[in-house]
């Protein structure tokens, strides 16, 4: 059996969930493509190839056990994610650049 066992091992009635990220031929980063169930990482990779690269040519696939992903709480929007607009105090907007200093 594969040595890459996820946190939750497959049981008699349940295959763990995996999240799939695919980098396309022309892409620079892996993009989340979807999820699937598989008994272990080797099969997850093969299932991802079958499910998510059917129509577009991908060059790289990552599969991650869904249990390993920690996501931000969608309800915590306000305090976690606030627009930086109107927060001049966070940026060095009043700094004057010294003349003659290159590449600053």
């Amino acid at each position: 059996m594969s040595a890459n066992a996820p946190d939750s091992a497959p049981t008699a009635h349940h295959w763990p969930l995996w999240e799939v990220f695919v980098r396309s031929n022309r892409g620079l980063s892996h993009v989340h493509a979807g999820s699937l169930h598989a008994p272990d990482s080797a099969m997850a990779l093969r299932n991802a190839r079958d499910l998510y690269t059917r129509r577009n040519e991908g060059v790289s696939i990552w599969v991650v056990p869904a249990a390993a992903i920690t996501a931000s709480d969608p309800d915590a929007k306000d305090s976690f994610f606030e627009s930086p607009q109107g927060k001049d105090y966070r940026h060095a907007t009043y700094y004057t650049k010294s003349e003659g200093v290159k590449h600053l």
């Binding site: 059996m1 699937l36 169930h37 008994p39 099969m43 299932n47 079958d50």
Partner: protein, 255 residues
């Protein structure tokens, strides 16, 4: 890749050979297609469906090419031939059984097709070489898929191991036929691949997997065969009836 209509017309021997390869793939595709909506897991539904589509693609290429010798289209050959005219080997028409039996059949089929297409890519016939060059990459994946499942089923629970062993015992007697040479193979020479030349590699590669899976190589006498000359098992009739009924009912229909 479908053979283009303007492709060179094959000689009778090459056409008969292409018919054998095409029929193998066509019958296997038909068997695998039955798993769609019935596979144990959604992911396997797609995996087996994909394998079936790949096989169907190979069948289309081979049958279109073969048909050129007789002025027949791939559809003429697929839908309007009867059992004795099919040239597929018995392995491919064996029933799906349970998932393990299907995997056993798939493992045998892919272990045969992979070296076959790899060698056929060097065929002196350019069309056969081209089809094989495209097909070998897909069959490489089919072999990997079935190998992974043989390992997991054999190494899983007592139940899965029992079924894997049963599936292999069921299918292995039909592998012998794949490596039998006849007059046609000898006449083809460099245009085809001599079936017996593939036996060594087949035995070695499958033995490796069996060892990793801690399975004994299925030791069973070879089944009678005869598929290459139109003598098939009782299953082909039912399979063809289902595959051909729509085309035969409405021969002039188009999608």
């Amino acid at each position: 890749m479908a053979a283009r209509a303007g492709a060179a017309k094959p000689g009778e021997d090459v056409a008969q050979y292409a018919l054998r390869l095409g029929d193998d793939a066509l019958i296997l595709a038909q068997r695998l297609g039955h798993w769609i909506s019935r596979a144990p897991e959604l992911e396997e539904d797609v995996a087996l469906g994909n394998i079936a589509l790949d096989q169907l693609g190979h069948a289309r290429s081979f049958l279109t090419y073969a048909g050129g010798a007789w002025g027949k289209s791939e559809d003429d050959l697929a839908y309007f031939r009867r059992e004795p005219q099919f040239r597929s080997a018995h392995l491919f028409e064996q029933p799906n059984g349970d998932f393990a039996a299907t995997i056993a059949r798939q493992f045998a089929a892919a272990s045969y097709q992979f070296p076959l297409y790899r060698e056929l890519a060097h065929s002196s016939d350019p069309m056969l070489a081209a089809i094989a060059a495209k097909a070998v990459k897909e069959v490489d994946y089919h072999l990997d898929h079935s190998t992974q499942w043989v390992l997991r089923l054999a190494g899983g629970t007592a139940e899965s191991r029992r079924r894997m062993i049963a599936g292999l015992d069921l299918m292995w007697p039909f592998t012998g036929e794949l490596f039998q040479d006849d007059e046609l193979n000898h006449r083809l020479g460099a245009a085809g691949v001599l079936p017996s030349s593939l036996q060594g590699e087949f035995d070695r590669s499958t033995a490796e997997v069996f060892e990793a899976a801690e399975l004994a190589v299925p030791a069973s006498a070879m089944a009678t065969g005869g598929g290459r000359h139109g003598r098939h098992s009782e299953y082909l009739g039912y399979l063809l009836a289902e595959m051909q009924v729509l085309a035969r009912e409405y021969p002039t229909a188009s999608w």
